[in-house]
């Protein structure tokens, strides 16, 4: 997967530079390197997540919230608007009702003379006519200048009452047309009256009617707005004119009344505590024109805004849910990507170490071939001198036995050491690049058997047996047999040496086709002492050896490495301390082009 997109690229470049930085910290900090790399990757991971949040989640949430708030505002306004319209409508109906009755009384008073009205039966007829459809007026009466009833039709016995002291009497006399607030009056029941005055023959009389409280109240109260709505009326002093539906009583003082008269429709928001439950209410107030009564509509906020709240909750839940999903997906994807980057980096690193190894070997090759060549000549001379001394000693034996012993000892030591040097230079010169490789088609199995034959005799004395597990179906390969032999001999020699203090053991050599079928695999497994974890990375390094001085040059495996690479193959080692070691060699069916050309 190649990460694309600028952001990703930037991040990727970052990741690479992180790892590059750590690579430069040098060989001594290998342990640190791993820890640091891990930290870098988790930092990369965090950065990714952070950026995704900043670039997608944050705006999403922001926009979501903004839209949500905006929408709620809008919906609220709409709802309040509808409420307002309904309240206004209601107000109009009440006003119309009052006005209609007033007009009616006025009309009756204007069109009829007092003589006619007080005549037995006429007033009854008028009342019946008014109440024909709805029971609008409870009673009706004619009152003269002195406050005495001239005529009365209604359910109460009020004909002999004098109203000259009633609060409304003076008002009517002044205003000519008048609507009272609710009051108890003589009948001891809440009611309100309407009255008009008329002048006739220099005398004033009053037509007074009581509005049917029940029908007025039902007009006001029964127009329900919502499930929880209360509708009631207050007079200009804040006294309930209708029953407010909750704990208040008609004709009692409403608490918190301000009494400021205006022509608008006003909303208030109110929180009341009902049995320890807080309930929010929307209060909508508007003043009637005549009389100046305050129409109050109280609705439960919850009920009204329930839909918005629902919608809000739904959008918020889905918003946060999608944010969560994005987050989870991002975490997964990022994790996957970081893993991929990590894998790529480790592959890169692997390749780098291989290149470094190859580079090391190349420079060793050049240098060592030169040095070895120069040292070889003096070595050859020393060897001949040594031999000459041996010859001379044979011809003229030394008479002093002590000196003779010393001389013989030294000579033999010189011989050993010179041979050791020769061994080293010989190995070093194997690094010198061969100008010509002899490339032949060989059958690996036959080849392996030959190598085993060669080594078996030597190994037998150490109690080591060979076992071969050869796959006969593998195809022949093109390679340099003498180089390949060198590789196998070095590895097998190591395997034999690894059984040093065991006295017995087994070396298994297996062949098979590689998994991708483009090459063959040779496996050499031993039951020797194994390689320690801290050494396993170094075994291919030139001069790395655990053998005692003089026993090994530490060049065997690095020679193998350089040869295997030259032949286009791969070498890999695994080991279990105390149990054994396994070398896996892979060779392509055909060596690299450059080898074929030279060969």
């Amino acid at each position: 997967m190649k990460p694309s997109g600028t952001l990703v690229e930037i991040l990727y470049v970052k990741a690479v530079t992180y790892t590059k930085k750590t690579e430069h910290t040098g060989a001594g900090m290998d342990q640190n390197r791993e820890g640091k790399n891990k930290k870098d990757y988790s930092r990369l991971f965090r950065r990714f997540i952070f950026l995704t949040m900043v670039c997608s989640l944050f705006p999403l949430l922001l926009a979501g919230w903004a839209i949500n708030i905006h929408y709620s505002e809008f919906a609220r306004e709409r709802i309040l608007k509808t409420l307002q319209t309904r309240v206004e409508y209601h107000k109009k109906i009440i006003e119309l009702f009052l006005k209609e009755n007033k007009t009616r009384l006025d009309f009756i008073a204007r069109t009829n003379s007092i003589e006619f009205l007080i005549k037995e039966g006429n007033l009854t007829h008028i009342l019946n006519n008014i109440n024909r459809d709805d029971w609008v007026l409870t009673d009706i009466g004619i009152i003269d200048e002195n406050g005495d009833h001239a005529a009365y039709v209604g359910p109460y016995k009020l004909i002999d009452k004098n109203y000259s002291n009633a609060f409304w009497f003076k008002e009517v006399m002044e205003k000519e047309i008048y609507t009272s607030d609710m009051f108890m009056g003589f009948r001891k029941e809440p009611h309100f009256i309407m009255a008009v005055t008329k002048k006739e023959n220099g005398r004033r009389w009053i037509l007074r009617a009581t509005v049917n409280t029940d029908s007025f109240r039902s007009l006001v109260e029964n127009v329900r707005i919502g499930r929880t709505g209360d509708v009631y009326i207050l007079n200009s002093k804040g006294i309930y004119q209708t029953s407010p539906g909750f704990s208040g009583e008609i004709l009692t003082q409403a608490s918190g009344f301000k009494g400021e008269i205006h022509d608008d429709l006003k909303f208030r928001f109110l929180e009341i505590v009902d049995r320890d439950v807080k309930i929010k209410k929307i209060v909508c107030e508007t003043w009637l024109k005549d009389p100046r009564w305050l129409l109050v509509v109280r609705v439960g906020e919850k009920e009204f805004f329930e839909d918005i709240r629902h919608a809000n909750r739904a959008t918020l839940v889905s918003l946060h849910l999608s944010a969560l999903i994005i987050l989870i997906v991002t975490v997964f994807v990022t994790n996957h990507m970081v893993q991929v980057i990590k894998k790529r980096d480790s592959e890169l690193e692997e390749m780098n170490t291989q290149l470094m190894q190859a580079g090391k070997l190349a420079s060793i090759g050049e240098l060592s071939a030169g040095v070895a060549h120069e040292i070889n000549n003096p070595l050859a001379i020393i060897m001949t001198e040594h031999q000459l001394l041996l010859d001379a000693e044979k011809r003229t034996p030394i008479t002093d036995p002590e000196f003779g012993e010393q001389f013989a000892g030294s000579l033999s030591q010189i011989g050993t050491q010179v041979r050791r040097c020769a061994h080293i230079t010989k190995n070093l010169m194997k690094f010198a690049r061969r100008t010509k490789s002899v490339i032949e088609t060989i059958n690996i199995n036959v080849f392996v058997r030959e190598v085993i034959d060669l080594m078996e005799r030597e190994a037998k004395s150490d109690g080591i047996t060979f076992k071969s597990v050869l796959d006969d179906t593998i195809p022949p390969i093109l390679t340099d047999p003498s180089q390949l032999q060198q590789v196998l001999l070095n590895i097998i020699n190591n395997a034999i040496a690894a059984h040093e203090n065991k006295g017995y053991g087994m070396i298994t050599i297996a062949t098979r086709l590689s998994n991708d079928k483009t090459g063959i695999v040779i496996i050499v497994e031993d039951t020797g002492n194994g390689i320690k974890d801290e050494d396993i990375e170094k075994v291919f390094d030139p001069f790395f050896t655990t053998k005692s001085p003089g026993q090994g040059t530490g060049l065997g495996l690095s020679i193998c490495y350089s040869i295997v690479k030259q032949l286009g193959g791969n070498i890999h080692v695994e080991s279990d301390v105390g149990k054994g070691t396994l070398f896996t060699l892979t060779f392509p069916l055909k060596p690299p082009e450059n080898l074929l050309k030279h060969g």
Binding site: A372, N376, I381, D391, K426
Partner: protein, 149 residues
């Protein structure tokens, strides 16, 4: 073969002299020269059974010297001394008719073994040649003088 005549050719004079002494100690008749030209001159003057030739020399190197020796058409076998890096050159030398090669530094005993091998080969070739010549003399006695060419 005791008394075989050996020509040692090596530019490393001390090595050459030492080797000569060692071979003399082993009853060979040894002549040591330090370059290819002297070797050719010596071969023109004298017969040698085996020539031990260093591969890497200034002036005429081992391979050119070997080619020159072959041109002389003598009954001489050539052994080459090489460094380890020059296996290819050694293989080429064998292709050109050298008897074998040895990598320096080498033990004197190894060299002696190879010299013996070379001598036997030379001896066989020589005997065969002589036989052929004798056969020819039998067929045409007038050729008898050619035997001593």
């Amino acid at each position: 073969m005791i008394g075989s005549k050996i020509l040692l050719v090596d530019d490393e004079e001390i090595f050459c002299d030492n080797m000569a002494k060692l071979l003399q100690n082993r009853q060979y008749k040894v002549t040591a020269v330090y370059n290819g030209e002297s070797a050719i001159r010596a071969l023109e003057k004298e017969n040698f059974d085996v020539v031990v030739l260093d591969l890497k020399m200034p002036g005429m190197n081992g391979i050119t010297t070997l080619k020159e020796i072959k041109k002389l058409g003598l009954f001489t076998e050539t052994l080459l001394l090489t460094g380890h890096g020059s296996v290819d050159a050694a293989i080429e030398a064998i292709r050109l008719g050298a008897y074998d090669f040895l990598t320096k530094p080498c033990e004197v005993d190894e060299l002696v073994e190879k010299i013996e091998g070379a001598w036997r080969k030379k001896d066989e070739a020589w005997k065969k040649d002589l036989e052929n010549k004798l056969k020819k003399v039998v067929e045409s006695p007038s050729d008898v003088f050619k035997l001593f060419d």
